[in-house]
Symmetry: C2
Subunit: 139 residues, 2 copies
DNA sequence: TTACTTGCAAATGGTTTGCAAAGGG
DNA sequence: CCCTTTGCAAACCATTTGCAAGTAA
């Protein structure tokens, strides 16, 4: 529960942090601060800097993972060990999650080969979703 | 040579672009616009926006690769046209190539499952290189 | 009570852009 | 000569920060 999560991270339990955390917990993919703001707005008014500060506090405590994607934005996701990757439509930006992650085994191999302490990876597929492909065929 | 590179990319051969390209060609790692600016300054005065515009023009023509690292900055490097992925040290930005790409088969699977026309993917591993790990242990 | 959290607005830092002047083919 | 490139300053966008007010423990 969020309850324990915040307490065990030495962070005060505020309504805003609980909401942010619950959004992250039910998110199918990593989210930007902006996306989280959109998801909170119907429940609670909160400033974007509050969201950034909450996310950074949670990241410092390793409750969430923080990672910069190729669009230059920072994405946050719950740091459980079931991470997901995504498939993005380059036309409409629809984003769908990918279940499989074939990379853990590759990480082990890389550690042995390079001596790197591997802390994470980023994987995104790009393509055109069926809807956009259809739209484009018409023009 | 830079000479042919710019011409075949349909870009005018200017002294500034030639200098930028030659810096990229002799760079051992990917560089930021800011780093390139520092390297050009002893040879030629040039505005930072010129550097960004040159790099973006070259990236559009696939002469250079553009990639956003975990520090939020954009790094540029000569595109050697081999499909590789990389392992980046989050401390010193050292980047080493990964030979294997285990993703083509996954792409086929995803196409079947999602109907997406997959046009590409991006895969990066992050970690701490042995040198930085050692340095950090000392402090 | 007391330290932590929040809102607001302003600051920041990397990157982009509009426009007029300079330069390449 | 025309079109591209460049410099400059201003704009932009995501993120951070200072400070005063609010709130959890």
């Amino acid at each position: 529960m969020d309850n324990k999560t915040l307490k065990s991270a030495d962070l005060k339990q505020t309504k805003k942090r609980i909401l942010i955390l619950s959004i992250l917990e039910s998110a199918p993919t990593a989210l930007t601060a902006e996306e989280i703001a959109e998801l909170t707005v119907k429940d609670m008014k909160m400033s974007i800097s509050t969201i950034y500060r909450a996310l950074n506090a949670l990241a410092d405590k390793n409750v969430v993972n923080k990672s910069v994607h190729q669009d230059g934005k920072t994405y946050y996701e719950i740091n459980n060990h079931t991470h997901t990757h995504s498939l993005l439509c380059t036309l409409c930006n629809e984003k769908i999650p990918i279940e499989a992650c074939p990379l853990e085994s590759l990480e082990c191999l890389l550690t042995k080969e390079t001596g790197y302490l591997i802390t994470g990876h980023n994987l995104e597929f790009y393509g055109i979703c069926p809807k956009c492909a259809q739209k484009r065929a018409k023009n």
